[in-house]
């Protein structure tokens, strides 16, 4: 940032938005679904300033939350200085049922979105709320419009008439802001650091990190791994770090042998000490502004070579770039940190990126010792995990989340 740059004026923004919300709502009631993240909390605080008790804040427990999250969020937001009245709406079973057996990223997101708004509109109708305040920010709708991913909270931009379908009009007070600007507004509003600096948690929550089909034991593994990754990376993880769970299932892909050769030549490690797999699960990515529901490749080198070479982060970064460039189908490259029982049903991928506005992201060079400690603990606490990987892919060609 240079001295010439005019600072974003949070004071002026808050003043104009509070006025605007008050004017649009008049004496009507409004509802907001809080996630505990900075976007929805900032919107709720703005709206609460504008219309006070006419705002109903709910927290929908979708079941795709981290361990203890609903209670934690409620406790935090109910406290001063925000003192927002929060009601928790339990809907876990509904979401699980709606998503069902689908393993496709877009289908899962769509089912989630539909269930989310149905739950929301039922509560809104019961409580006579005709407005929905929503924390959409710039990257959400830019990506949706471009057809890259479906964000659960963007309707109008994709042509869904919320008034007809769900009975409320949507108000999006921060739709033109980027994440760093939202944080500036949050700070200005006195929102606790724990929220204003909290790393973004996707709207559909852990759903998009539970790659492929949802299974209860898979989700449980994801929740445990998430807790472990967050514990270790709280101080060294970049702006966004998390775990994702995948199926331990590979495909007999025609490109496998060529890939293996490429990796072995590039890393100068003998072919028999290198193993490349194409996973059965797919992940979203973006190549040249085109959405790519691409292939995931895992790269492993023998334990002995891992010891000899240590953490080849720069080399692996370049390898990733080469593989995704030369193989159009590939949008993600995972690198094996440690193996568990080969027959176990799941894999876990650790991801950590640094980003300003979530439009582009680079991977973080987490020290190898920390990664191995994470892997060891995951394998110990989750015996149904076969491999723990580190995700080597920046955005683009990957997206930050998996689905």
């Amino acid at each position: 940032m240079t001295a010439q740059q005019p600072e974003f004026d949070a004071n002026a923004f808050v003043k104009s938005q509070v006025d605007e919300i008050a004017q649009r709502l008049g004496s009507e009631r409004a509802i907001i679904a809080i996630s505990g993240g900075v976007d929805s909390t900032t919107c709720a605080t703005l709206a609460y300033k504008a219309v006070g008790k006419n705002l109903l804040c709910i927290f929908i427990d979708t079941g795709f939350m981290r361990l203890g999250e609903p209670q934690k969020v409620k406790a935090l937001l109910s406290k001063r200085p925000l003192a927002l009245p929060i009601r928790i709406v339990r809907a876990q079973e509904r979401f699980i049922e709606a998503i069902g057996e689908s393993g496709d990223a877009e289908e899962k997101r769509k089912a989630f979105r539909e269930t989310f708004y149905k739950t929301l509109s039922e509560t809104a109708n019961k409580e006579d709320c005709h407005f929905l305040i929503q924390g959409t920010i710039a990257p959400d709708w830019i990506e949706t419009k471009g057809g890259i991913k479906t964000q659960h909270n963007v309707l109008e931009q994709i042509g869904i008439n919320s008034k007809e379908r769900y009975g409320f009009t949507i108000v999006e007070p921060i739709a033109d802001l980027y994440k760093d600007q939202v944080r500036a507004v949050a700070k200005y509003l006195g929102i606790q650091r724990e929220i204003s600096e909290r790393q973004p948690f996707p709207g559909p929550g852990l759903l998009v990190r539970c790659v492929g089909r949802i299974e209860p034991s898979k989700l449980k593994t994801l929740k445990r791994s998430t807790q472990i990754v967050e514990k270790y990376l709280a101080t060294a993880g970049g702006q966004q770090f998390f775990a994702a769970v995948l199926d331990n299932a590979t495909e007999d892909h025609p490109a496998k042998e060529a890939l293996q050769k490429q990796v072995s030549e590039y890393l100068k490690i003998q072919s028999r000490e290198v193993k490349v797999n194409i996973l059965r699960n797919r992940a979203t990515g973006v190549k040249g502004d085109v959405r790519a529901y691409g292939r995931i490749a895992s790269v492993s080198i023998s334990k002995k070579q891992r010891e000899v070479h240590g953490w080849l982060i720069e080399k692996l970064r370049e390898l990733q770039s080469k593989l995704t460039s030369e193989n159009p189908e590939l949008t993600r490259i995972l690198y094996t940190i440690q193996e568990g029982k080969e027959s176990a049903p799941y894999d876990v991928a650790v991801r950590a990126v640094e980003t300003r506005d979530f439009m582009t992201a680079d991977i973080v060079a987490i020290p190898w010792a920390i990664l191995t400690a994470i892997a060891k603990e995951i394998l110990k606490k989750c015996p149904n995990v076969a491999h723990v990987y580190y995700d080597l892919t920046p955005k683009p060609p990957a997206t930050i989340e998996f689905e």
């Binding site: 740059q5 040249g288 439009m359 582009t360």
Partner: protein, 197 residues
């Protein structure tokens, strides 16, 4: 006023943000914008962003036909990014095609000619790119300004007019010299306006 033509890429908004942060007035305008409309909002330069199109592909070319006309007819400073850079090359007799090694994410840009638009960015810098296609033959009236390991043509300029094409994305945060490039462009726009053209 330096409007940004929205070519429907993900980062078009970030160009507006960048220009605004550098103190210029800017907003997104649609692909269908006419010269008359641009004059009405008092434009002194124009930026065209990236998008998902392939300019050698018929339908894409049709979608971009209005922008192509603008690139040929406007005499004010122009900065064309990613797909618009490819379109600029084709519009002036160059050729584009699928890249042998497409670039996604981090690249190193080597500056061959600092010139005006890349002033202060040499000899090389880290940039972020996302493209499946590239310029495979330079238009004759243009000069090459930069390359990367995988892509021969990362930046070009017209020999006759203040018109520039850039293959990578100077508007994203991970491109280290992006701000410098936009500042250079705004200076070019300022000088051009002062000379009364």
């Amino acid at each position: 006023m330096v409007p940004v033509v929205n070519v429907k890429g993900q980062y078009n908004h970030l160009i507006v943000r960048m220009l605004t942060e550098l103190g210029a007035e800017s907003s997104l305008v649609p692909l269908s914008v006419s010269i008359g409309e641009l004059e009405e909002i008092g434009f002194s330069g124009l930026v065209a962003g990236g998008g998902p199109q392939s300019v050698y592909e018929k339908n894409s070319r049709r979608e971009l036909s209005n922008l192509e006309r603008l690139l040929k007819e406007i005499s004010k400073p122009l900065l064309c990014i990613c797909v618009s850079h490819q379109l600029l090359a084709e519009a002036n007799g160059g050729k584009t095609g699928p890249a042998k090694e497409p670039e996604y994410g981090q690249i190193t840009v080597h500056v061959d000619e600092e010139d005006e638009i890349l002033q202060g960015t040499g000899p090389s810098f880290r940039a972020w790119a996302s493209h499946n296609d590239e310029v495979v033959r330079m238009p004759e009236s243009f000069q090459k300004l930069a390359h990367s390991q995988s892509c021969k043509v990362e930046a070009i300029r017209s020999r006759n007019r203040p018109i520039y094409g850039i293959q990578f994305h100077p508007e994203v945060w991970h491109t280290t010299k992006g701000r410098t490039i936009f500042r250079n462009f705004l200076e070019i726009v300022g000088r051009n306006a002062a000379s009364g053209r």
